[in-house]
């Protein structure tokens, strides 16, 4: 005979397995700090490349003027200014990455915990039905 509770549980779990299970499994296989560090590192590389592109576009926009003025300008001051902007930019995006990663890790952990709780419940139901 069909066990209604068991079918409900199995359906819910199957839906989860089809959906976010794989993604969440890849997240929770790390410790929280490791996962967030990895994401921050990836973000640092990607955002640095993006900053490089933006800086390149800025230089190319007035390239002729820049090349003319490069010998008269305070080069250290210019580099210092660029570095300050870079640090602010990287810090801002790193904070965003940290918040998003933390949120994602917590959601993945909760979903995975719920999945295993359901799995245990399912095993218990199977055990009960076999005893009967």
């Amino acid at each position: 005979m069909v066990n209604e509770e068991r079918v409900k549980l199995m359906t819910r779990m199957a839906a989860y397995e089809e959906g976010d299970h794989k993604k969440n499994k890849n997240i929770v296989c790390f410790f929280r700090s490791d996962y967030i560090s990895l994401q921050l590192m990836k973000a640092f590389i990607a955002n640095s490349i993006a900053f490089g592109i933006l800086f390149g576009l800025y230089i190319l926009y007035d390239f002729e003027i820049f090349m003319k003025e490069i010998y008269q300008m305070d080069l250290f001051g210019f580099i210092k200014g660029v570095l300050i902007i870079y640090v602010i930019y990287i810090s801002l995006l790193s904070v965003i990455t940290y918040i998003v990663s933390l949120y994602r890790y917590n959601v993945a952990l909760q979903s995975t915990k719920l999945y295993y709780v359901n799995l245990k419940k399912l095993l218990r139901i199977y055990g009960e039905s076999e005893e009967e």
């Binding site: 990607a46 490349i49 993006a50 933006l54 576009l57 190319l60 390239f63």
Partner: protein, 364 residues
Amino acid sequence: MTGLLELRENLKRFYTKNEIYLNPLIKFLAALLSLIIINQAMGYMGMLKSFAIVMVLSLMCSFLPGNFIVVISALYIVLHSYALALECAVVVMAVMLIMFLIYFRFSPKDTMVVLLTPLFFILKIPFVMPVALGLVAGPASIISLSCGTVIYYIIKFMTDNLGIFSSADAETGSQKFRVMMDGVLDNKTMLITVIIFAFTLIAVYMIRRTSVDHSWTMAIFTGISVSVVLLLICEFLFELQLSVVGTVIGGVFSLLLCLVIQFFEFNVDYTRTELVQFEDDEYYYYVKAVPKNMVTAQEKKVKRINRKPRNGAVKPSRKQAVPRASVAGGQNPGVRQERPLEKRVNPKVIKTANGVARTTENRE
């Protein structure tokens, strides 16, 4: 309406049944359509317009993940821009790379929005995107929508200034680059469109989340009318060089498309709305339950009349049906043996002297 609902159910069932074949087909068609539209809108590199290349790439996209369509389309746009002018290609590629590196690393699912937005712009029905995203997604989609809008306006800027970019004068290289950058950064129309679309998306999202009756329909009508009216107001204020008639017609078509989306995504029967109220230890609950419009799709049943007999044996009719005979004893298994039926006689109802009815059943 019932016919439409039945059609919807049939479509859903058909999709579920043939998902494994339909998904690659949909991807193939999406890739083919997007590449053809890009070729039509830009088409500066003759080689990319080759039907064979388009077909091969579309076939590749059909078996690869959905985001591959976006990558191929982005590559197509960059290569067409390169054929026009190197400066254009540099700017387009830089903008795309920045988008992918900063935002789409977080939400790879949203990349399709970046592809669809310029396509709907080219098809003159751009209002579909903010309204549809407000209905089925959330406020976070504003970023993807804005990125798509920026890409469209970059393409439009290039096509509008073909004369500047197609000149072969080598000295104008840095000027071309500056013109292109100005076209991206100082594009008033683009900026206003991005703001209006963001506003529309939020308005649609907030209205459809409310529990009032017909919230989705209200959200669609509000979204389309707000975006069309705001764009027209901005047209008069800032001279955005938009076609008034084109904008209105685009709005009407977008409205129809959004109603189709609503039909498939959110089809409920407000006449059967139930308002229930209950409580537990901590809360009072006021629940509004709106049933979905559901129609059970009719299944086609094939009724066989005069079924072809096997081994020449005549199949008895239902009334003359007999229990299957034993095939033991070396009898031919293909031929059914008839067993004599017990003859039944209808029971008789006898009234006794004291008025109690009694039945008898005689067997011969």
